[in-house]
Symmetry: C2
Subunit: 255 residues, 2 copies
């Protein structure tokens, strides 16, 4: 049955979507059956794998509201990679969920029905610690935290780790930080080196060995609705995400 | 009486904080009295002007809960620049506000008491369209939208513009998009050029002429708790934010 991994960090623009999309594509290329869940109202993960947002009639919002997950799952532009796309109504979900019963575990209940169809379920979350991210944390076996190699990136880490602890104590006892991915490493700045050293010192072996560099190809690929592995398979961006995915498969071998 | 400008965009990492901090510092350097309001639970704007988050006893959260704004205002590391810092409890405010009366206009009521003390009030908002950002939109005379020169940056623009329209129709009749700032322009990629062309074509003159480049100095400055104008006054980052601030002073001359 599937391993579910949530890509979470309330800091914006740190590479949550880029990591979920490209790790998903690499795992699929390696033969694993992968479901990518887009839990961000912006729908970047859906776009990143070729789904046109205006075409999404049934998506994550409808699934949170009770629609069966299989009715919403679509095929991405990559074999073995399916996607539960974000629909426009997801923007209202945070406020609507506040008064709902079992508001934090709606996603977990929904995707449990799909676990036997996949090897990995990857969840892309929005840049906040609200009810959508709480749903991702409750549905996940482990959290992968992307951290940008920038100063502000370390600021919110404490808050995120506390939130993960709270969810583990209350709603999801198996939840833990499964991995930390350092992203957008820029060899031109000393800052990137310092952030990498700081993060490895504080968090140790949970930090993946592979550091993702900032590359032009990675920023261009979403414009073509493709992961970098399809857009430019020979690029550094494709290579580094493949190497990261190998580390992920070692930590969570297929069922 | 002060002009209030909210820096809003639910897309993460587009330069909201960097723009609010550096525009604030440039306006202050030009002799204007500026209040920077940090409405993001991450507190990056507070850190960016030298406030240590753990030292904040009374901040934006307490002000939203009714404390007088003057009790929370602190001095930043730059003359003429004050800051209403973010305190750690702000993370819980979104959910706590949902049931409160006048939940969207708490910030407006609070900062109205300080308008006569300042020429400009700049509000840094979190990467979401929840109740904290709604408070920023209700307290603002105009919105400044930072847009990163990347593909995903255009995705959420429609949702943001619709939200601004809703707030104008209901809670804040004077609200309008006062400016659009193109940020993190990377001359190495064609993508940056395309995004700039697209945004200028769709949004016209509301887009500021000055485009902010991606520079190492801008990403390093927050680590020293300083705006780039204090960290490295001769840098391109400092120059381009000064030029942008001149455009801002033309659009909204001091009272
Ligand atoms: N390694 C990289 N090299 C170059 N550009 C990158 C890289 N990773 C991400 N990007 C670009 O940086 C921007 C931010 O990345 P992304 O959207 O994946 O972050 P996010 O954490 O999902 O953002 P949000 O908080 O808004 O959800 C995007 O425009 C993306 O294309
Ligand atoms: N022009 C620039 N050149 C280089 N780095 C920049 C530039 N503008 C912002 N940055 C860096 O990029 C990252 C994102 O910027 P910033 O934090 O200002 O965005 P934000 O929109 O406020 O993010 P969030 O959505 O998390 O609030 C930060 O690490 C910042 O230091
Ligand atoms: Mg994202
Ligand atoms: Mg910010």
């Amino acid at each position: 049955s599937a391993i579910s991994l949530a890509f979470c960090n309330q800091k914006g623009g740190v590479g949550k979507t880029t990591s979920a999309v490209n790790v998903g594509a690499c795992l699929a290329d390696a033969g694993a059956r992968v479901l990518l869940v887009d839990l961000d109202p912006q729908g970047n993960a859906s776009t990143g794998v070729g789904i046109a947002r205006q075409d999404v009639k049934v998506g994550t919002y409808e699934v949170l509201a009770g629609t069966a997950v299989h009715e919403a799952i679509a095929q991405a532009s990559v074999p073995n990679l399916d996607v539960l796309p974000s629909s426009i109504d997801l923007a209202g979900a945070e406020i609507e969920l506040v008064g709902a019963p079992k508001r934090e575990t709606k996603l977990r209940t929904a995707i449990d029905a799909a676990r036997s169809d996949y090897d990995y379920i990857l969840i892309d979350s929005p840049p906040s610690l609200g009810l959508l991210t709480l749903n991702a944390l409750c549905a996940a076996d482990a959290v992968i935290i992307p951290i940008q190699c920038e100063y502000y990136a370390l600021e919110g880490l404490g808050q995120l780790l506390r939130t993960i602890d709270l969810v583990r104590d209350g709603l999801n006892p198996k939840l833990h930080v499964g991995g930390v991915v350092l992203t957008m490493y820029d060899a031109r700045t000393k800052l990137s080196e310092q952030v990498v050293a700081d993060v490895r010192e504080h968090l140790g072996d949970v930090v993946f060995r592979m550091v993702i560099p900032r590359t032009v190809r990675l920023s261009e690929a979403p414009g073509y609705g493709k992961p970098v592995t399809s857009y430019d398979p020979g690029s550094r961006g494709a290579f580094t995400y493949r190497a990261l995915s190998v580390e992920i498969m070692h930590r969570w071998p297929r069922g």
